[in-house]
């Protein structure tokens, strides 16, 4: 691909072939070389999962980096012999709902932290920063006891339901994400929403109609981060979801390889690839916002 550009330039400038190669290398060639090294490091484990998922024997010891034979047996067996479909649905339900709710709750808080001056504002901002340093799952004993009671009174929100777990996740909705969003809100000139208010818009209209569309990048980033984090959340889910029907993919796949790593490796790899599809889809869909959303809030220091 790069070779096509070089000959054109050479015909106009008349340089010797080795000199041209050195120039090319100094300019862009080394970049390709470095990237090649990084790509090998980044991609070989992924290649291995793909190969193991296609490996008809389905064991770890028979899996190789380059597949020797390919078949979809692992996928078929995964869907037939386990409750993978249910796990998959549970994971998507939890991740999508949590991402949507967190974005809304966090954006609302970020809006007032950015635009209003009120008593307790500084305390609130510092408090958010500090409270999220507490490893939430170490409070798991407390959460467990709390939800033992909840399960008695309101079984819908108890153990083995996605909704109880969702409530715990929402406890973390206001967090470092709120800071990220507040930073981004700060970069939007206050004149925009103030002039809207002068024109008679309520604070709610200023928030929903003016601010939210302007901060789309950071909303997308937070949604993405929360989605990925929820899909990967393992510990709380493993405490809450014991029933095979209620498990998420993370809990289910872990149970599958925890004791029988070698034998179930093909199934595990197939499950991983299937789970990667929604994550990749969300990622591809939102990735153009990522660089912008993550840094522009912070750049203005």
């Amino acid at each position: 691909m790069t070779a096509t550009a070089a000959p054109q330039r050479a015909s106009t400038r008349r340089r010797s072939a080795p000199r041209r190669a050195v120039l090319w290398f100094q300019r862009t060639g080394w970049r390709h070389l470095v990237m090649l090294v990084f790509l090998v490091f980044a991609l070989f484990p992924i290649l291995f999962v793909v190969s193991a998922a296609l490996n008809p024997l389905g064991t770890l010891s028979s899996s190789t980096l380059i597949p020797r034979a390919a078949g979809l047996q692992n996928f078929a067996e995964l869907l037939e012999s386990t409750r993978f479909g249910r796990w998959y649905g549970n994971t998507l339900l939890l991740a999508l709902t949590n991402a949507a709710a967190t974005v809304l709750l966090s954006a609302m808080a970020a809006y007032v932290f950015s635009r209003f001056r009120f008593r307790g504002r500084r305390l609130g901002l510092y408090g958010l920063l500090v409270i999220q340093m507490f490893p939430q799952f170490l409070a798991i004993v407390a959460i467990y006891l709390m939800f033992s009671t909840v399960s008695d009174y309101w079984p819908v929100l108890g153990f083995n339901t996605p909704w109880g777990l969702m409530l715990v996740y929402l406890g973390g909705a206001l967090s470092i994400n709120t800071w990220l969003m507040k930073g981004f809100f700060d970069t939007i000139p206050p004149a925009l929403d103030e002039s809207a208010k002068v024109d008679g818009a309520t604070h709610a209209q200023a928030f929903f109609r003016i601010m939210l569309p302007l901060v789309t990048p950071v909303l997308a980033v937070v949604a993405l981060l929360v989605f990925i984090a929820t899909v990967n959340e393992f510990l709380l889910a493993s405490v809450f979801l014991r029933d095979p029907e209620a498990k998420t993919v993370a809990v289910g796949l872990y149970g599958m390889v925890a004791d029988q790593r070698d034998a179930n490796f093909g199934l595990f790899s197939a499950g991983t690839l299937l789970l990667a599809i929604p994550v990749l889809a969300v990622f591809w869909f939102l990735q153009r916002y990522i660089a912008e959303g993550l840094t522009s809030g912070a750049v203005k220091g």
Binding site: P135, I140, F268
Partner: protein
């Protein structure tokens, strides 16, 4: 969405605000949609409150009822009043935060000053009931019961309950708190309970798996009496061998005559020779749990080595991830046309977009000593997780592999926001490429990346999955099976709290509080230094 954007966002920004019409400030504010939404949300809140309050009311839980009423009243006040605008936006998230983060954290802090652990779970009364019930022995006049083993929730995991039918055919449910009449159960002629609302009958196969638990299970029925099982289908009420006497605050063994006196500081009944009954109760121990990892030499040395590795792990990960991520970002950051730039970007980011918990398990398999891919590819025969340093290296490699694409994304964004003129000016003034990077690009980059580096550090300081799903904290030295070479404080704590060798919640909670303090201090100090917190004062 797109249409909204041009309507509402474009006009106020582009044109100066139009002069208001006379009387504009008196015009009704807010749209009908807004009003409707408000009514709908408040209606929903009221409906949820009603739904939540009903079971609490039925159980006469007045504190719970009061809490629900108070929260609902707060919601109505905030959304109906014209003042307190910030509260309207903060209340929903804050309620969740208080209920599921702050309360559990406060509970953990209070637990950290108790001896809460296996054998020290409940109150003294519960411990006495348990002591008396578990020593119940059959007497000639014992009442026999037909027993059905059941559980609350899942039959394999849930809390055990004995469903008992007495000779008259009346059914009861007995748990560690005592006996209650069982209503709505279907009892078959033999006295076995086939089905009872709220309980799952444990089938014989699973009862077998829990047989030890069932044998130990005892239902207290009064002073000095209790019900125990004999087999899976019958039970009897008998007198206990151990009896509590409130006069001397002690427990006496009727057979041997030994006296166990209550020790209210340790929460246990202790005999004169130091022997203690296994059933104790929860007491406040003040700072004793915190003193343990300062005072006890064995705990202290393992604690210090874990803390050192923990800091090294978090700092090493952050540094390596930053260097690699920035390296890739700089490699792709050029004005020259670079063929395949988009493809490179998408491919490098792939590890970040894969489900990370699965990738940890995958790497664990790849480091497998017998048939792992790493050994096969490199032609090695190394037991990666068997030696402290190779295990540490492996955990770091895995974590860097997962983390650097994210840092690449962030660094790319940060690089693009730095005006190119600055670097060009430096180059014109005679700076070399390296000097320009070192003196111009990096300092500017750090402004936007410092908070993210701090967040990365804090996250990895407590990166439970990275260690638990790969090495599980191992390898363990032979003389201390609790503190492994790759253990982070958080995995160590987890093992203490939920490990196989008896749960020590009190001590684990103290460790949690300590971790919390370390991470908070480190984060606040470094964020202060990076001056990112300044803007909150404006």
């Amino acid at each position: 969405m797109a249409a909204d954007r041009s309507d509402s966002a474009g006009a106020p920004g582009g044109a100066p605000a139009r002069p208001r019409l006379p009387g504009g400030s008196l015009a009704p504010r807010g749209s009908a949609t807004g009003q409707l939404a408000k009514i709908a949300v408040l209606g929903l809140a009221a409906a949820i409150a009603l739904w939540a309050v009903f079971p609490l009311y039925a159980a006469r839980q007045w504190t719970g009822v009061a809490a629900v009423v108070a929260v609902t009243a707060l919601i109505f006040y905030v959304y109906l009043s014209k003042r307190a605008v910030p509260a309207k936006y903060l209340v929903p998230g804050t309620l969740f935060l208080i209920a599921f983060q702050i309360i559990p954290v406060l509970y953990t802090i209070s637990t950290s000053m108790t001896n809460y652990s296996d054998g020290h779970r409940g109150t003294k009364e519960q411990a006495i009931d348990q002591i008396e019930a578990s020593s119940v022995e059959r007497t000639p006049d014992s009442t026999p019961y037909t027993l059905t083993v059941a559980a609350r929730g899942s039959s394999s995991e849930g809390e055990l309950v004995f469903l008992l039918t007495d000779p008259d055919g009346d059914a009861y449910a007995g748990d560690t708190d005592g006996l209650q009449p069982l209503t709505g159960a279907s009892v078959d002629p033999s006295g076995k309970v086939a089905d009872a609302p709220g309980y799952t009958v444990v089938p014989p196969s699973e009862a077998n798996a829990r047989s030890e638990e069932i044998t130990e299970f005892a239902v207290p029925t009064g002073s000095g009496t209790g019900i125990r099982s004999s087999g899976f289908s019958s039970a009897f009420e008998g007198r206990s061998r151990l009896a509590y006497d409130a006069g001397c605050d002690c427990v006496t063994d009727a057979e041997s005559g030994r006296v166990y006196t209550a020790d209210d500081e340790r929460g246990a009944f202790v005999a004169e020779d130091g022997d203690r009954l296994p059933q104790g109760w929860q007491v406040d121990v003040g700072m004793a749990n915190f003193a343990r990892f300062v005072g006890d030499p064995e705990t202290r040395s393992s604690f210090l080595s874990i803390l050192t590795w923990n800091v090294a792990f978090a700092a090493g990960t952050t540094a390596m991830v930053f260097v690699l991520g920035l390296g890739v970002a700089l490699t792709l950051h050029t004005r020259e046309p670079l063929a395949g730039r988009t493809a490179y970007r998408l491919l490098v980011v792939l590890p970040y977009a894969m489900p990370s918990f699965a990738m940890f398990l995958l790497w664990k398999s790849m480091f497998n000593a017998d048939f792992g891919l790493v050994n096969r590819l490199l032609g090695l025969d190394l037991d990666w997780f068997g030696h402290p340093w190779s295990a540490r290296a492996a955990v770091l490699i895995v974590n860097i592999w997962l983390g650097f694409p994210y840092m690449f994304l962030v660094a790319t964004g940060a690089l693009q926001s730095i005006p190119r003129e600055l670097v060009q000016a430096a180059r014109i003034d005679g700076a070399g490429a390296w000097q320009a990077l070192r003196r111009v690009t990096l300092p500017l980059l750090m402004v936007s990346m410092a908070p993210i580096l701090v967040a990365t550090f804090a996250f990895n300081f407590n990166n439970f999955n990275a260690v638990w799903l790969t090495t599980e904290g191992g390898p363990f030295p032979t003389d201390s099976p609790l503190a492994g070479a790759t253990d982070l404080l958080i995995t160590y704590t987890y093992r203490l709290a939920f490990g196989v060798s008896g749960a020590q919640y009190g001590y684990a909670a103290a460790l949690s509080v300590f971790i919390f303090l370390i991470v908070t201090v480190m984060s606040v100090v470094s964020l202060r230094r990076s001056a990112s917190l300044e803007e909150i004062h404006r």
